[in-house]
Amino acid sequence: MKLRQQLALLALVGLLIPGITLYSLQIFNEQAKASHINALVGMAEAIAARLASDDELLQASGLAGSPQIPADQELYSHRLFGDGSEAGITIDGATGDWQALALEPLPLAGSDAFSASYRAVTDNLKTYFLIEVEDTKRHYHQAGSERLATGDHLLLFAGNQQQGLHYFVVRAELPGAIEAVYRNAFGQSVRQERIRGVWQETEQGYRVELSLPSNMTQGPFALAAVDQAPFKALRVAGTLATAALATAGPDPGVIPPATGRLVSNAAQLHRALQVFNRPATRLTLLDPNRWQRAQTGQLTPDNPAAKPLQKLLHWVTKRPQAGWQDVHSGLWSTPPEDASEAPHFNGWTHDHNTLIARVEVPVHRATAAALEARYVGSIVIEQAIMPWQLLDHSATRRLLLSSLLGGGALLLLLIGYASWLSARITKLSRAAGNAAKPGQSLNRALEQWPRLTLNDEIGQLSRHYRGVLSQLQDHNEYLRSLTGKLSHELRTPLAVVTGSLDNLMAAEPGAIGKYAQRAREGSLRLSRIVSAMTEASRVEASISSAELENVDLKQLLSDIHQAYQSAYPQQKFELSIQTAAPETYCVQVAPELLVQMLDKLVDNAVSFALAETPVQLELTYRADDSRGVLIELAVSNQGPPLPSAMQGRLFHSLTSERRTGDSSAVHLGLGLYIVELIARFHQGEAAARNIDNGVCFSVSMPAKYPALSARRAVTSVDNSP
């Protein structure tokens, strides 16, 4: 992966800011949802308090004042009022008109695996029932029987104060119209024409569609389906006590009145709740048996169309897991003990893309008579909102916008910075690549080398590279000039030789010896130059194989001083050694090389020394902060000074600018080049400077003491196998 791509990838960190914002928006959203629930609870409590305070309403609607009836003795009918108060049901046995009402059947509790269900709806005039019974062995009533029913039948307890309460048997001799009969006080079977219905067979059993006047269902009311077959026990499903039936037999004339009733939503409660209507909010009032007694409002969200920002917010918010389930039967489920187990009792559910908040609070009727407030029902508030609605306000919009802008700006900045950085490095790398190309001249590479103005690490790298390149160029330049210098050095003796030979050809016999001698001297000079040249490479070779030994430099210098004295009897030598602890000068060096180096320096000093002046040999030391003890060997003589232009490159080979009186001496400058090679081998430096009336060549090198090296040697022994 290229640097640019790596940096661009890194720049994606900028996306963290919007990411963190989105995450915090989620947290905000959870918070907002919790507080929304709290607000709804507050609203529900207000409604509950309003209802609880209206005793008249509670009494009139039957929530208060009437004795508590167990849930299994109550039936539920959906009452239609206001607009669309006509149920529009035709008693014809067809169920299409029922399906339009979207009611869910409620079970009629039965025994012995006998079950039935019913749907009921009440309009201004009548109450309609659709009862479905599961009984594949159908038995019809036998015509002419004295009994009210000889086969399967329905049992209704209904009526009113004017006409009296009766047990009605709903029976059929064939599928089709039913008969509703009861026994009057005289035990006669009387037909009640106002109860009408149609009996139809279904796959599971049979279905009865019934209608009866509304005023027959206001008082005590009960319904049961009875499965009756010859030689078999009766099976009953419904709200009539089975025990009573069993004792009374099929003719229920003498059965005590039933205590159940038909419950439905009440117009006055509906009106009372309507006051609290809000958009997209549904209010429901449940009685203690959790029958739906009133409901107002619609669960249709305010503005379902989403703008782009809202879509983004929608994307941020998490959908509740639980799905919303509406209640179509009229019977609401009971909240569990622990409300947190079922969040749809107090909490959030979803209906497709809509969020639905639901809260339920109890209504307690406070009466002076009762010691404790009596539970009379529950208020359920459901509210539909679009998922973004809780977040869609100016604060979050600002937060989102600023973080998107900030993140974008950061991203651009980082990408820009990365591009800039990589452009610089690419520039550098391209320049280095160009410089390394075969055939590319260093001059050109140096000219084209990028000049990075900023002095950071890359700028420094560029400058260092340029430094290396220009050093290389200098070296190349030096090598190029070396051949020129060499040809210059060689040409002079060559001219001597050819000139002498030319003369020799034309010379008088007596002069031949003179020209031959001159030619020999010229060729000797040539050979000295050649050996001086090879000496440098010989020293380079011996340096690479040199080994360090423990040497007392003081001793070495004293010895060599005497040796020089006898080697150059004409020259006077002086030795001075700086006083120091005995071990100061006991260091690790390559003695042969060191002697060779001193030879060169002394040779040089002797050839330039003025007559009658001594050559000085000096051994000194000084402490250096960074390099420890530095030992300096110096050889100085009195004589012509160094040309100032030569100071820097004096130690380059073949550079010799000074003249001695003796023109036969070879001054290629290789000697000083060798000095520098040996000094460098000892991690030291060679230097030359003019002193009073003369020149001083010195070599300073860090002292390597044996103890340190010995320790190192031991370590290396341990490591060796």
């Binding site: 020129g484 040809s487 210059h488 050095e489 040409r491 002079t492 060559l494 001219a495 001597v496 050819t498 000139g499 002498s500 030319d502 003369n503 034309a506 010379a507 002069a511 020209y515 001159r518 001297e521 010229g522 600018e657 000074r658 003249r659 023109s663």
Partner: protein
């Protein structure tokens, strides 16, 4: 009276060899080891020809200084430079010191003497009336081989002996390609190809100084050079 040749050379052996050779040919030779002694002597009496080494001991460019002084004193004195380095040719040329020839030290004595003679011939010819036989006219170019003088569009071109002979060889047969060897033979020098090339360049430059549109010397790539005759 024998002509005097001054040799200014710090290498005693080289100077001795030249001195012996020149003396054998009947010249009087004065040898000076450094610039100072030469200048002192020249102040008293000028030689007929000077052979000067470029580097004189510690005086790395002492020869150049000496040449300038000498040229100022005697505009027609033939001066030959001796150098140990090829690259000094360009220095001399660049400085336009007015030397009549420059040679490397390893040139053979025969070549050296041929040049000395040529230079003396040139000096002599200047004092004699022009000899029509020795003159070649090629359009705007007028060459006189005895005077070794060159004119282009009636303006004199100041060429060294080597340059003159190279030009002469080219202009003698216009349109003929002369290879490098032929040019070296004509100039009596042993030079490598690059040096011939730089001689040609210098000749062109000298013509260009007089006539910016000069383009008579043509390079025949891979073969050599030719003088373009007038169409």
């Amino acid at each position: 009276m024998a002509r005097t040749i001054a040799i200014v050379e710090d290498e005693q052996a080289i100077a001795d060899n030249y001195k012996d050779a020149f003396t054998r040919l009947g010249f009087k030779v004065d040898h000076y080891l450094d610039r100072r002694s030469a200048q002192t002597a020249f102040a008293v009496k000028l030689p007929d020809l000077a052979v000067i080494d470029v580097g004189l001991g510690d005086d790395i460019e002492g020869g150049f200084t000496l040449c300038r002084d000498l040229r100022a004193k005697a505009p027609n004195l033939p001066i030959v430079f001796l150098t140990a380095r090829d690259d000094e040719f360009d220095v001399i040329s660049g400085l336009r010191l007015g030397a009549d020839d420059y040679l490397t030290k390893d040139i053979s004595q025969a070549h050296m003497l041929a040049r000395i003679h040529a230079l003396f011939r040139r000096v002599d010819a200047m004092h004699e009336p022009a000899n029509g036989d020795d003159a070649i006219e090629r359009g705007n170019l007028l060459l006189n081989s005895s005077r070794m003088s060159v004119q282009w569009q009636d303006k004199p071109i100041d060429l060294t002996v080597t340059e003159f002979w190279i030009l002469y060889a080219l202009a003698k047969h216009p349109g003929h390609v002369k290879n490098r060897q032929q040019l070296m033979d004509a100039a009596n020098v042993v030079l490598d190809d690059n040096t011939i090339t730089s001689h040609i360049k210098r000749i062109r430059r000298k013509f260009n100084a007089v006539d910016a549109d000069f383009d008579r010397i043509q390079t025949a790539y891979g073969m050599g050079y030719r003088w373009l005759g007038d169409a």
